[in-house]
């Protein structure tokens, strides 16, 4: 019979430390005694993840694969080569990437999801270019998708790691949008006229920067932030 020196409760012989406060039991009279009969077995029951997320991912993937396959086969059968079916299959692929793929992962789902989305979107745009015989994918579409994707990726990573806090996140988003639009204009101009002239994007850039600075200012000024919180809290 041992007592917890901290809580004053008697402890069953099975307890090597007090379950209430964690203090180790030391009873000099009980050293070297036989192991007492246990209260509970060692076996731990777990919850089956059976019909969990993976199951539904598989079901939905199969449901999406069926129409894709039908499109591809019928297209090949009647035309002898792949034409319109690429639009349909690409669309379904993008749908899968955006809607289904996030359920594949448990950890870092957001980052992996964004990477898959970039890949799927680029591939889809390439397929459209390929079957409409365009030349716009590599000079314009791909860099835009890549840039947008990287910006979203960076913002997500920074927010997840707590580098951007509260209103700084908002201003970072505005900065990113402003810079992104400038880059878009540059790319399109270069593709169309091979001359770079910034005509419309600087309007957006300056407005975005203005808004971004306002948010930084608010975040840095505790009084104003508090006042705004009071007036605008939801």
């Amino acid at each position: 019979m041992s007592y917890c020196v901290n809580c004053g409760v008697e402890l069953s012989d099975t307890e090597k430390q007090c379950p209430l406060c964690g203090v180790k039991v030391f009873n000099p009279l009980k050293q070297g005694e036989a192991e007492p009969e246990k209260c509970y077995p060692v076996r731990v029951e777990t919850i089956d993840s059976a019909a969990g997320r993976r199951f539904w991912v598989k079901i939905v993937s199969i449901l999406l694969a069926v129409p894709s396959l039908i499109c591809l086969v019928s297209n090949l059968l009647y035309e002898g080569y792949l034409s319109w079916s690429l639009y349909a299959v690409g669309g379904i692929m993008v749908l899968w990437a955006f809607g289904v793929s996030p359920f594949l992962f448990k950890k870092n789902a957001a980052i992996k999801w964004i990477l898959i989305d970039i890949a799927a979107l680029s591939l889809y745009l390439y397929l459209i270019e390929y079957s409409s015989l365009g030349t716009w994918f590599f000079p314009v579409a791909f860099p835009i998708v890549l840039m947008a994707g990287l910006l979203v990726l960076l913002l997500t990573a920074f927010v997840q790691r707590g580098i951007f806090k509260e209103l700084y996140t908002v201003s970072a988003i505005f900065f990113a949008v402003g810079l992104f639009l400038v880059a878009v204009e540059v790319l399109i101009d270069f593709y169309l006229t091979t001359r770079i002239q910034v005509v419309w994007s600087w309007f957006v850039l300056i407005s975005c920067m203005g808004i971004a600075f306002v948010f930084i200012f608010i975040e840095r000024n505790k009084k104003i932030k508090e006042e705004l919180k009071r007036k605008l809290h939801i």
Binding site: C7, G8, V9, L11, P19, Y40, P41, V44, E45, I47
Partner: protein, 431 residues
Amino acid sequence: MAEGIIMDKTAHKWYRLDNAAKLFPAIKNRKWMSIFRLSVLMNETIDAKALQKALDTVIERMPVFALKMKAGFFWYYLEHNTKRPLVQRDVSNPCVRFNFKRNRGYLFRVRYFGRRIALEVFHALTDGSGGIVFLKTLAAEYLRQKGYDIPAEKGVLNCGEAPHPEEMEDGYGRFAKLTAVKSRKESKAYSIRGTREPAHILHIVTGLVPLQALKAQASKYGVSITEYMTGVLIYVLDEIQRKEGRRREPIKVSIPVNMRRYYSTATLRNFSIVVNPGIEPKYGEYSFEEILQHVHYFMRLETSEKNANARLARNVKSEKNPFVRVMPLILKNFIINMVFRYSGESRFTTTITNLGVVEVPEAMREQIERFDFLLGPSRFNKVNCAVITFGENVCINFTRTIEEPVVEKDFFTFFVKNGIPVKIESNQENY
């Protein structure tokens, strides 16, 4: 309901869920369902073969347990289960959600370890009072298999008899006076804070307390044992909340009340209601005596037959609402879930349930060391407490889903400080 129909396994007899049971399948999810556990600690190591034989016999006598749950278009319902229930080896983390398929459709499971036989029950099947009848009958039949002569008395059912139709009845439907109902509206209560463990982990701390010492303390204040323990629980929770230093919310403890004490019925299904006594810290600081008085008078008032029935009628009335009834099950589940999420468990801080004194036939008494009663995890609340008394032993089981044993620690040290000796055991070894 003729007896022949219940026993006839070829007839696909089905039953409606009772009023309380309708809630539990709707709010269960992939990781959780509402489960409680009763166990008996014998003097000798359990023989699994004899236990299986005993279970085979008892399940014939108690068809109210030989059921599986099915989904209808509007409600879940229970259907006779023709498979044989199998005894299982016990685990260190009881009350993990049932996998009905792997459990052969059954809504209960019988487990054994060392000298203990445990019964775990999904709450849709029955409540603690129904469960203890099953466990006692099973333990008695087990002892008969081992050669003891145990008479069928003191709540042990006679396995030679045919099942009684009244055991199957829905007490709520039979006894609710729907002339007037009591509002269910309650304020939000304080929720215990702590570090969440994974869904399958359940920490158990058992406190064994001598009945006389506890009785002496309770009668010193002129309250019942349940009221005394509820008072202690509220008192320690109040302290815990005060130390957190946040805005304080009411502390309320949910207590199930057995309706069999007012109405004579042999039902083995759910037949209880809950009341939530508590304190509002905004009204000022409460001394321990004040808390006890609050709990005492609240319980006396709220659990009078009239008030209890008005509460019960409220529940039955919402089930009878024509809009609710014609709603497809899937929609009903969604709405019940929403209501449960926003007004169910958030209305009380914790639960304490006292099953009272377990009586057994004299011949059985020497073979039994003690009974245990414990509640599985709640869906949102973190600490539960269940109490059962056998002979001179009051067994208080705290179950929690958070790492920190704050409530148990304060509760049991309060006992020790007030001269009630406590013996502690736990399942901490295995995690």
